[in-house]
């Protein structure tokens, strides 16, 4: 019995002037898995992720979500379909508060006339939700949810961004280098968070340069090279050095795509 991928892409092409970022790239994410995407700098990982999350529109190629062809023109459309992305730059607004950032672009309005005619935001509700989510994820102890994000440390900001994705991502969560800017202990928290989100059944795409992290949490590893997928490997059977060798072109990739689902 074969399982259908929840998110997949076929033949994605994206050019920026004379630079080819994506050269007929394929991509599959299956329900409930953590798929790591690794690749050298400039291999096109970010372009791939942007293409499936609506942040850029590919020049050609198709994206499917749950078997249906989708055509995202903005991150908003992808989000509305249940795909949440934690960007490397976090996409947080520094001067706004933690609660404001959590709800940026999907604010809750008060019910009744105040919300409908005066467009008034339901701040207590949003603050409560933000507090619940952050403590539920155990990522940090919040003293003041109205604190501006710019007064937080790098790890705390990452926590806010991950919490936002985990709180709203209903079908797929994409994380772009979530541990890159973090210390050892904060990284551990994020890895635990990834396991936590996975155990609730939400599949995760993890883009990372950190091989120990990738090999620890990933079910499958998608290796990206020169703008396309060159291999999908099983972290349990391949060594880190072989994965890096495939990634950099020092070793020929295996012929078959590792796929325990079909």
């Amino acid at each position: 019995m074969s399982v259908q991928p929840i998110l997949s892409a076929k033949g994605l092409v994206k050019r920026y002037g004379r630079v080819t970022a994506l050269d007929h790239a394929d991509f599959e994410l299956y329900p409930g898995e953590v798929l790591a995407v690794i690749g050298d700098n400039g291999a096109g990982k970010s372009s791939l992720i942007k293409a499936v999350s609506g942040a850029t529109i590919p020049d050609s190629g198709d994206v499917w979500l749950d078997g249906e062809k989708v055509d995202f023109h903005s991150p908003m459309e992808a989000r509305d379909s249940g795909i949440e992305t934690v960007y490397q730059n976090l996409a947080l607004s520094p001067a706004l508060s933690i609660a404001d950032n959590l709800f940026l672009g999907r604010e809750i309005r008060k019910e009744g006339v105040l919300g409908k005619w005066f467009r008034m935001l339901d701040r207590p509700k949003m603050q409560q939700f933000a507090r619940d989510k952050l403590s539920e994820l155990g990522l940090m102890t919040i003293q003041n949810i109205d604190q501006a994000v710019e007064t937080l440390s790098g790890g705390q900001r990452q926590g806010v961004a991950v919490a936002r994705a985990a709180a709203f991502g209903s079908r797929v969560i994409i994380m772009d280098e979530p541990t890159a800017a973090l210390g050892v202990k904060e990284s551990r928290k994020v890895l635990e968070l990834i396991q936590d989100v996975k155990s609730r059944g939400t599949p995760i795409v993890l883009i990372s340069h950190n091989m120990p992290h990738v090999f620890e949490v990933a079910d499958r590893i998608h290796i990206h090279r020169l703008g396309k997928r060159c291999a999908v490997v099983d972290p349990k059977t391949i060594s880190m050095s072989d994965a890096v060798a495939i990634m950099t072109g020092a070793m020929d990739p295996p012929n078959d795509v590792y796929n325990p689902y079909t």
Binding site: A91, L96, E107, L121, T151, S153, V184, K185, K189, E216
Partner: protein
Amino acid sequence: MTKQSFETVLDESDTSVAEFKTEKRGFLGQIQHILHGNITIVPMIVLILSCLGFGFVAGERFFTPFNLSLIIQQVTIIGILGIAQTLIILTAGIDLSVAAIMILTSVVMGNFAVNIGVPAFLAIPLGFIVGMVCGAVNGLLITRFKLPPFIATLGTWNIFFALNLWYSGSQSIRSQSIDKAAPSLKFFGERVDVFGTQFTYGSFLMIFLCILFWYLLNRTAWGKHVYAVGDDPEAAELAGIRTKRILMSVYIVAGLLCGIAAWAAVGRIGSISPQSFYEGNLEAITAVVIGGTSLFGGRGSVVGTIIGALIVGVFRNGLALAGVDVLWQVFAIGWLIIIAVAFDQWVRKVSS
């Protein structure tokens, strides 16, 4: 969860993670931090101190109800233009054309109501539409043609001003003609008695608009998006905000505010002159900057802007009462601007 070998040493380590610890800050750092969260405190303090100072220098005459009411009347137009300017500066833009839009709008209102004889209740909304169209032109140049706001509005400032001279034939509309044909154009110049002091409706209009835009900026999603776009447009876009749409809405609303300012200006100066308020745009920017709104976007408030406009008004009025030459009023305001911006730079450093 299993740990990797290099992480086993974590067992003995401190388990506290990424907490919001209150760091020890010096006295100055503490002040910096408080101000960072409440930027309008400083203009408020400056306003109170300058009132006290001029009350001391200029004596009794400064604190008469008549004089205080006069200061508010004098800053009404710049205050309303300042609200429009604040919206735009919050998005990290700038609008050099606000005053030109206002004058063009007032000339259109006057021409339709007085010379053509259209009823005022139609001529005034028509003026608002002209203001919004002007704002939309600015917005399109900035969002669609990707021109820097400074350059786009430098261009439209000249264009709108030239159109205004052409449309009006450089002719003013006299006060008596307005009184005869469309007295409601002067509505905001009329006075009401509050606690024995005369206030114009225009003063209340400014305060009403200030409260309205405080509400819109702080209590609606649109307001949060305006701040987010000015703060970090790329992050806002990735967070799902349609930044271009927000920018367009800001420029159009600013145009509408210029139209409202035009109506109030007819009441304030009595006649309609295509040559008036030539430096209004710069005065509006001055009020915004002194009011603590950052020219880099994402930080500031309309309440600060009204306080900023009042500070300028108090300085001008106080120095005039004290018998100081006009040139020294200009001199003082120049210093106010420089100090306000230097101060903003210092407060913003709190994040780094």
